[in-house]
Structure formats: structure tokens, C-alpha cells
């Protein structure tokens, strides 16, 4: 059970940080699109 908890905590951490990083990266890409378009 302790091992499960460790796995859960780490997976959750990885998922949260990964999602945040990916979304920020996506946001930067969209920003690039808007900049390329000139708005």
C-alpha cells in the first residue's frame, strides 16, 4: 500500500507538472502564431 501511495503521488506529480509544461509550451506556440500574424 505504501508503494501504491508512492506511485500515485509520483504519477500525479508527473502528470500535473507535465500538463502544465505542455500547456505553457502550447500557449507559447499560440503566442508565436499571433505574433507571426501580426496582431
Amino acid at each position: 500500500m505504501r508503494r501504491d501511495l508512492v506511485t500515485i503521488a509520483l504519477a500525479l506529480l508527473a502528470a500535473t507538472l507535465g500538463a502544465l509544461a505542455a500547456l505553457d509550451w502550447l500557449g507559447y506556440g499560440l503566442h508565436a502564431l499571433s505574433w507571426a500574424h501580426g496582431s
Binding site: 509520483l10 508527473a14 509544461a21 502564431l33
Partner: protein
């Protein structure tokens, strides 16, 4: 990297803006599905898969609903874009990009967490009955932490920057940006690999150390990715430019000394380019007569295309400072006859923008200097008792007119500062 990014962005742009929204939704759904499948322990069974897919479904529905709400909100803007056809240069302000900017500005991170994590939590609660409540608590803490990070990023950015090695990052320049993006790519690539491993593995994940080891490695990678994208997030949030924009026109350097208080916000309006022998109205070759006709047509259509906006009464002019009045007059008269009472000379002021990812870069800013097309019509940009200059032969060149207009603008700004002080 940013140069390549811009090229890629321009390629995407050729396919058209509508491609982007589904792409965004699919990307978000994939992330959520990856999260759910990696973390849902019994995904090999059909019910396990169903639980794992629930967050992705929720997220997709949520994102689609969010897009639909935005489209409903900005339908006149979309209508304008559709009616004005594919020529995006015609009215850059009414292209649907602001729509996607709004989509980006939405708290998408919070959306992902709010929709995907409860779904994943349910999957956990089902599979690990004993630790389900603990997981839910962990999920609650994680959501709170994510909100806190978002709040810190938005509200306390300057404080965080002042204590971080911010200047060192800036100095590292564009090459470093590629390296900083690498962990993100690795983390994204790891996700499907892990899903595959999870699916194929015959090892019991709950009794082996392999699962925590992989989860730990992934967490480390994700942390690296998160740290490495702080600069990107900050740049995107602050709307900093990404590169020196290589425009097709360059402002006269004399205007470098214009203070920003002399400029007005760029208007969404037709652009009359008088730099060359042949004048161009929004890119189309025109003579004075067709200028009048086209502007009158635009003015008539403006109410349909921009039902919530102001009526069209301004034309933006691009002309070199040394251009003389007789060359300009027929076009300005044409604009006035079409019903446009105001004009703005469009210039650029050189400026440096400080970005996190690429360091300080040249980012010239637009500067619209308003002038009147008639002495008889007052303009809100000038005080009533001291009307700004109108275009006529008293100012023999564009430069003289713009200098006069700048002088008036500065006087107006000074008066306004006095009144606001009262």
C-alpha cells in the same frame, strides 16, 4: 528556434485558423488520456479502460463547450472574417486570431485539472479501494498547488524573477531556448511509451518497484519540463514579442524621438499606402477615384461587419515624411468624400522588449499620429478649444504635418494629465 517556430507558425497559418482549434482540443485530450491511462491501474480490463477514458471524454466535451461559448460570444467577429474572405491582410483586426488568443487566455490549466483529475481520481478510487480516499486528498492538494502556482506566476512574477537566475537565462540567448524545450518534448514522447509499456506489461504493477521507479523518472522529467517552460509561460502571458518582426515597411527614423504620449492606439481601419508611385488601399492598387469608391463601400459594409463596433470614420495612412502635399491631396480628399473625417499616419517607434526566452530583442512599436481631414469637424483626440491640425497646404510635407500633430497631441496629453490631477 524561434525563427523555426515562426516558419512553422506561418506554415500552419496557410492551412487556416480553423485547424488550430481542433488541434488544441485533441492535444489537450491526448494529455488527459495519457494521464488517465498511465495512472489507471486496471486499464487492461474493459471497465478499467472506460474509467481511464472518462477524463479524456470530459475534457474534450469541456474544451468543445468552451470553444462553442467563445464562438457564440464572438460570432460577429467570425462573421466579419468569413464575409471578408480569405484576404487576411484586408482587415487584420477582424481576423479570428483574437478568438484563439482568448482561448489561450482562458484558465486552460485549471480546466484540465478540474476535468481530468476528478476522472482519474474516480479511476483510482475504483481500483485501489483502500487508498482511494487518500488519492482524492492528494488530488485536492495537487489542484490547490496548481492554482497556487498559477497565481504565483500571474501575480508574483516580478518577485520570483528578482530572486531567480533570470539575468543569466536571458544572456544565454536563442540557442538555449532549444535546449530548454527539449525536456518538454522528451516528456511528451515518454507519455505514449509509458502507456504502451503499461498496456503490455504482465508484471503486477502494484507489487513491483518498477511502477514507482518509472513514475519517479517521469516526475523528474516533468519537473524539468515545468522549470524549463517558466520563461515561455511568462513571455506568452506578458504578450512579449518573439522575434524582430520583419515588416514590409519601415518607419522614417525621424520618428524615433516621438514620445509615446503623442501616439494613439492603432485603429481597425483601412490602410492607404502612399509610399510608392501607385497607391494601395489594403494592398489593392487604387487611384483617387477608386479610393473614394472603395472607402465608401467599406463604410457602408462596416456596420454589417462590425455591428458592435464604432462606425468607420478613420483611414490609416502610410507615407514618407518627405512626401509633399499635392501628391497626397487627391487621396485625402477622396477619403473625406467617402465619409471618413479622421486620418492617422502610421509609424513605428524603435523599442527593445525584454523576453525571458530570447533575451532583449528589437520590437518596434506602432505609433498612430492622428490628423484631421477637415477643419470643420472636431476630433475627440484633440481639445475642443485647440483643434489639431488638418491636412492642407499650410503643412507642405507629411513631416511638417506630423510634427504639428505631435505638438498638439503632446499639449493635449499635458492638459489631460492636469485635468486628471484635479
Amino acid at each position: 528556434m524561434s525563427g523555426e517556430l515562426l516558419e512553422w507558425a506561418q506554415d500552419v497559418e496557410r492551412f487556416g485558423a480553423p485547424v488550430l482549434a481542433p488541434l488544441l482540443i485533441v492535444t489537450a485530450a491526448l494529455i488527459a488520456a495519457g494521464v488517465a491511462i498511465v495512472t489507471a491501474p486496471r486499464a487492461r480490463t474493459s471497465s478499467g479502460r472506460a474509467w481511464a477514458l472518462a477524463p479524456a471524454t470530459l475534457l474534450t466535451l469541456g474544451a468543445a463547450g468552451c470553444l462553442a461559448a467563445l464562438i457564440a460570444e464572438d460570432r460577429d467577429q467570425l462573421l466579419a472574417w468569413v464575409l471578408e474572405g480569405s484576404s487576411r491582410d484586408v482587415y487584420s483586426g477582424s481576423a479570428p486570431w483574437p478568438l484563439f488568443m482568448q482561448l489561450r487566455m482562458l484558465p486552460l490549466v485549471e480546466l484540465v485539472l478540474a476535468l481530468a483529475i476528478p476522472g482519474t481520481a474516480l479511476a483510482y478510487a475504483r481500483a485501489f479501494r483502500r487508498v482511494g480516499p487518500l488519492f482524492l486528498m492528494a488530488a485536492a492538494v495537487s489542484i490547490a498547488a496548481a492554482f497556487a502556482v498559477g497565481w504565483l506566476d500571474a501575480e508574483r512574477l516580478t518577485l520570483l524573477r528578482s530572486i531567480g537566475p533570470h539575468e543569466a537565462w536571458r544572456a544565454a540567448g536563442a540557442e538555449w531556448a532549444t535546449l530548454r524545450l527539449a525536456p518538454v518534448v522528451v516528456a511528451l514522447l515518454c507519455m505514449p511509451a509509458l502507456v504502451f509499456l503499461r498496456w503490455r506489461s504482465h508484471v503486477s504493477w502494484t507489487t513491483s518497484w518498477r511502477a514507482p521507479a518509472i513514475a519517479g523518472s517521469l516526475a523528474a522529467l516533468a519537473a524539468l519540463a515545468f522549470i524549463s517552460t517558466r520563461g515561455h509561460a511568462a513571455d506568452a502571458r506578458r504578450w512579449t514579442p518573439l522575434a524582430t518582426r520583419t515588416g514590409t515597411w519601415v518607419a522614417p527614423s525621424e520618428l524615433a524621438s516621438i514620445p509615446s504620449s503623442a501616439c494613439v492606439e492603432p485603429a481597425i481601419a483601412p490602410v492607404l499606402d502612399l509610399r510608392e508611385e501607385v497607391a494601395r488601399l489594403d494592398g489593392m492598387r487604387v487611384d483617387p477615384e477608386t479610393t473614394r469608391e472603395n472607402l465608401a463601400t467599406m463604410r457602408r459594409n462596416w456596420r454589417i461587419l462590425h455591428p458592435r463596433g464604432e462606425p468607420l470614420d478613420v483611414v490609416r495612412l502610410i507615407a514618407p515624411l518627405e512626401r509633399e502635399w499635392p501628391e497626397l491631396e487627391p487621396y485625402l480628399v477622396a477619403a473625406y468624400r467617402a465619409g471618413l473625417t479622421r486620418a492617422r499616419f502610421v509609424f513605428r517607434r524603435p523599442a527593445i522588449a525584454h523576453t525571458d526566452v530570447r533575451g532583449p530583442i528589437d520590437a518596434p512599436r506602432g505609433c498612430d499620429v492622428p490628423v484631421r481631414l477637415s477643419p470643420y469637424i472636431d476630433s475627440s483626440e484633440y481639445p475642443r478649444y485647440e483643434p489639431g491640425p488638418f491636412a492642407d497646404e499650410r503643412w507642405p510635407t507629411v513631416g511638417a504635418l506630423v510634427r504639428e500633430a505631435t505638438r498638439h497631441r503632446l499639449g493635449y496629453a499635458y492638459l489631460r494629465s492636469l485635468t486628471s490631477a484635479w
